[in-house]
């Protein structure tokens, strides 16, 4: 892996410019094809029968009447999906989540699926399937699930991470511990200690495009899948594994994706769509309804978190502790662990301990949601930081600056940081005019920090130069927010050609080697890195071709500003050859010119953000309006600043929705009461102000241009920033997210009382 830190200070020609995205015209004219926009000849409509129970034993599924209905071509239950996972428990959980096996584990769990000639017939067939359930006791709350009398979901879950190993199964899957130092000693040293508990309700990624796919399996065992996904190669592996297909014989083509935010890193209906197609011998299209998206695709965890932080009178934190309980839905996850890892990552702490409790409940299987698990932990820790600052009579900002992690700090999750951006974002907050703007009555200002790891992963990229000198860049990471523009900029930069000369595509699984998903803020980071090396390889080929054209040794050829130049006096009559010249000659100099890169660009560089937020509260109704919002985040080098800003703004908006109104509401019956956009309230345009951004460029020494991942961190601080602003506006400390009008009014009433 090449890695040249000198690049971090280089001058760029096109990197950093705000070019138009290559897929723009298709997306403003309705031409772009998303998951549900593809049709295959002879396709059937696939629909799912879902459990109306939160927890039930499935005693019998009778499909006979449905099968007899004219136009029904296939019906699938778990009997059609034999367990081929061979001891891989993660795969087994995915299989069981896609189709219940003997038990319905949550409201919305798939019980059976039908493929029929049209939607009407498929719907009728669902009505004709008779399922006999035996309702079982259920639990949907994370704290309730840990009580001794709670119904236990799985008899195979024995808590790991504790000594001695438990003798009975429970809903607590795993306890993970992070930290260093001695917190008991640290708290003993503290002059002031604040301890508080928090709850956050479950939220959904809320992408506007429901999951959709067209699956087609041939009698010879080969198959094709058109699907909206954040990772078509991963979908291919998972689906092939579950169905016993050869990975290479399943071609997955990723559609344009209508938002994912982590929710499209997991398979939901896709393996079943393939199984339906295999059984019916026809293509099958499955499009989830919005209600299904909410009930049966992965939301983020709901949580319950205790935080305790102690400090000396001078503001030095002496010890920090958190216990974080996250539910992963009906299957074990790593969500509490991620919460524990990220909780104190912003600070330089001598004594710190975070315990993550991963819990199962009767809710849909949790999926990653943008910096998964970090926002809830940040809400608890950053709220407590403000409380502690208040007790110390320090400004919350100064308190954070005093304790901020820096290069050389041991992170609370283990490693020692290299150059990082938390300090600079806090200094930028201090200087920002937003901090000095006047506030009116019932208004308050808050700030909070956030952290996310970012990561790289397996990447495979092709760069092909056509004989006219135009360049095709084929990458395997899904473009969720404009990465084709950024990657084209990188190719143009390396080759020294105009941006417009490059055309970026997302290759299907048949055209490239494996690529990990677009997650962990890695799309532009990883494929960008691979693009750089692919372009450099193509440059080497072009130098050789130029040498051939000139009939001189290749050592005498250099590549400068998009041209091959011959060096040395003896070649001074040789006129520089442009990329287009070399490309035009390529048929006779050795054939097509290309560059490739297959690599694992790990090391996307951790990222930090500090947000400032002003809110106004109506004290009579508890309604909160965000009236000003500023995001300050480290981006390493911003390849396409407009799209970096877009990531900052989008994450902040999702965080604002989470903070104020979004929540899964379960009834006593364990059923989800608000599976629609009417009552699952994501922010609308009139709810938000303009969201100001400030991009800091603290280079990542592990990327040739200094790029860091930027996509996720922006969702981490808003919950706490708004909580802190509310506290400053009204004098009430909100400890339950969402901070909805009824909760705020109740808190205000208690304050008065």
């Amino acid at each position: 892996m090449g890695n040249d830190p000198s690049y971090t200070n280089q001058k760029f020609k096109v990197i950093g410019s705000r070019v138009k995205r290559p897929d723009g015209i298709d997306k403003v004219t309705g031409r772009a094809k998303y998951g549900a926009d593809h049709n295959a000849p002879g396709q059937l409509v696939g629909l799912f029968l879902r459990s109306p129970h939160a927890h039930a034993r499935i005693k019998k599924i009778s499909t006979a009447r449905a099968e007899k209905l004219s136009g029904v071509k296939a019906i699938i239950t778990c009997d059609d999906l034999p367990d081929l996972t061979n001891g891989d428990t993660e795969a087994r959980d995915i299989l069981e989540n896609c189709m219940a096996r003997g038990r319905a584990l949550y409201d919305g769990h798939a019980i059976a699926a039908v493929a029929a000639i049209d939607e009407k017939t498929a719907k009728k067939a669902l009505q004709l399937i008779k399922v006999t359930y035996e309702a079982l006791p259920h639990v949907t709350d994370v704290d309730d699930a840990l009580k001794p009398d709670a119904p236990v979901l799985h008899d195979y879950i024995y808590t790991t991470g504790v000594e001695p190993k438990p003798k009975t199964p429970s809903n607590l899957c795993n306890v993970s511990e992070f930290g260093h130092g001695d917190i008991e000693a640290g708290f003993a040293e503290a002059d002031v200690i604040v301890e508080k508990s928090y709850k956050t309700e479950q939220v959904h990624q809320g992408y506007i495009e429901p999951h959709a796919c067209v699956a087609s399996v041939s009698p010879d065992g080969t198959g094709e899948l058109w699907v909206t996904t954040q990772g078509h190669f991963s979908f291919r592996s998972v689906c092939a594994n579950l169905l016993g297909m050869d990975v290479a014989k399943l071609k997955v083509t990723a559609s344009e994706i209508g938002g994912g935010f982590g929710g499209k890193t997991h398979v939901w209906t896709e393996p079943v769509a393939l199984a339906l197609s295999r059984k019916a011998n026809r293509p099958v299209k499955v499009v989830m309804t919005r209600e299904e998206v909410f009930r049966a695709s992965g939301p983020a965890s709901s949580t319950s978190i205790d935080v305790k932080i102690g400090a000396k009178n001078d503001g030095t934190i002496t010890a920090a502790f958190a216990a974080l309980r996250y539910q992963g839905g009906a299957f074990p996850g790593i969500w509490a662990m991620l919460g524990a890892m990220t909780s104190f990552a912003c600070y330089n702490l001598a004594n710190v301990k975070a315990l993550g409790y991963d819990v199962v409940v009767n809710r849909p299987k949790v999926a990653a949601y943008r910096a998964p698990s970090a926002p809830m932990a940040a809400f608890a820790v950053e709220s407590t930081m403000d409380l502690l600052a208040k007790k110390l009579r320090m400004k919350p900002l100064d308190f954070r600056i005093k304790n901020a992690a820096k290069e050389g700090t041991r992170a609370s999750y283990g490693p020692v940081y290299g150059p990082i951006g938390i300090g600079p974002t806090l200094e930028a907050v201090k200087k920002h005019p937003h901090m000095r703007a006047r506030l009116k009555k019932n208004q308050g200002r808050g700030m909070a920090c956030g952290f996310w790891f970012n990561f790289g992963g397996q990447t495979c990229t092709d760069l092909n130069i056509a004989t006219d000198g135009s360049v095709t860049l084929t990458v395997g990471t899904i473009d969720v927010g404009g990465s084709r523009a950024s990657l084209s900029l990188i190719a143009a930069e390396e080759l020294g050609i105009p941006y417009e000369q490059v055309r970026a595509h997302i290759g299907d699984t048949g055209s490239l080697g494996h690529n990990d998903m677009t997650d962990g803020s890695r799309g532009t980071f990883s494929s960008g890195m691979a693009t750089i090396f692919a372009a450099r390889q193509a440059v080497e080929v072009m130098r050789a071709r130029a040498a051939t054209m000139w009939d001189i040794p290749v050592e005498d050829v250099v590549w400068e500003s998009g041209q091959a130049k011959a060096t040395g006096k003896k070649h001074r009559k040789l006129k520089a050859l442009s990329l287009a010249d070399i490309a035009a000659a390529s048929p006779n100099t050795g054939g097509p010119i290309a560059g490739h890169n297959e690599s694992v660009p790990d090391n996307a560089g951790v990222s930090f953000a500090s947000h400032i937020c002003d809110v106004e509260v109506d004290p009579e109704t508890g309604a909160t309006r965000v009236i000003r919002y500023t995001v300050i985040q480290d981006a390493g080098k911003a390849i396409h600043p407009t799209y970096v800003e877009g990531q900052f703004q989008g994450g902040a908006a999702q965080g604002i929705g989470w903070a104020l109104n979004e929540e899964y509401i379960y009834g006593d019956d364990g059923r989800l009461q608000n599976p629609g956009f009417l009552d699952y309230r994501i922010p609308v345009c009139s709810d938000l102000p303009f969201i100001d951004t400030q991009i800091l460029e603290i280079p990542n020494p592990h990327h040739p241009y200094g790029v860091r991942g930027v996509g996720e961190t922006s969702i981490v601080p808003p919950l706490a920033a708004i909580g802190n602003a509310l506290s400053n506006a009204m004098g009430v400390r909100m400890d339950h997210v969402p901070m909805s009008p009824p909760r705020i009014l109740k808190a205000l009433a208690q304050l008065d009382g």
Binding site: G260, I334, A368, Y369, P415, W452, F453, F455, V600, D602
Partner: protein, 62 residues
């Protein structure tokens, strides 16, 4: 603990040799932090002499 290894791969091999129970953790998925930077897949990463190496769980993103 101190281990002699020049790459992440070597390190993991030595670890499993000395502590067979590590295999379970490796199967569940790990990431390796070398001097503060996290590696999930790049096991060819050279570990400079005297480096501190941290094994952390393999993480997921959104």
């Amino acid at each position: 603990m101190e281990i002699e290894a020049s790459t992440i791969r070597q390190l993991l091999m030595v670890l499993v040799e000395q502590y067979p129970r590590m295999q379970g953790h490796l199967d569940e998925g790990v990431a390796i932090a070398v001097e503060g930077e996290i590696y999930r897949d790049n096991w060819d990463r050279v570990i400079p002499p005297g480096s501190e190496v941290f094994l952390i769980p393999r993480i997921q993103g959104g």
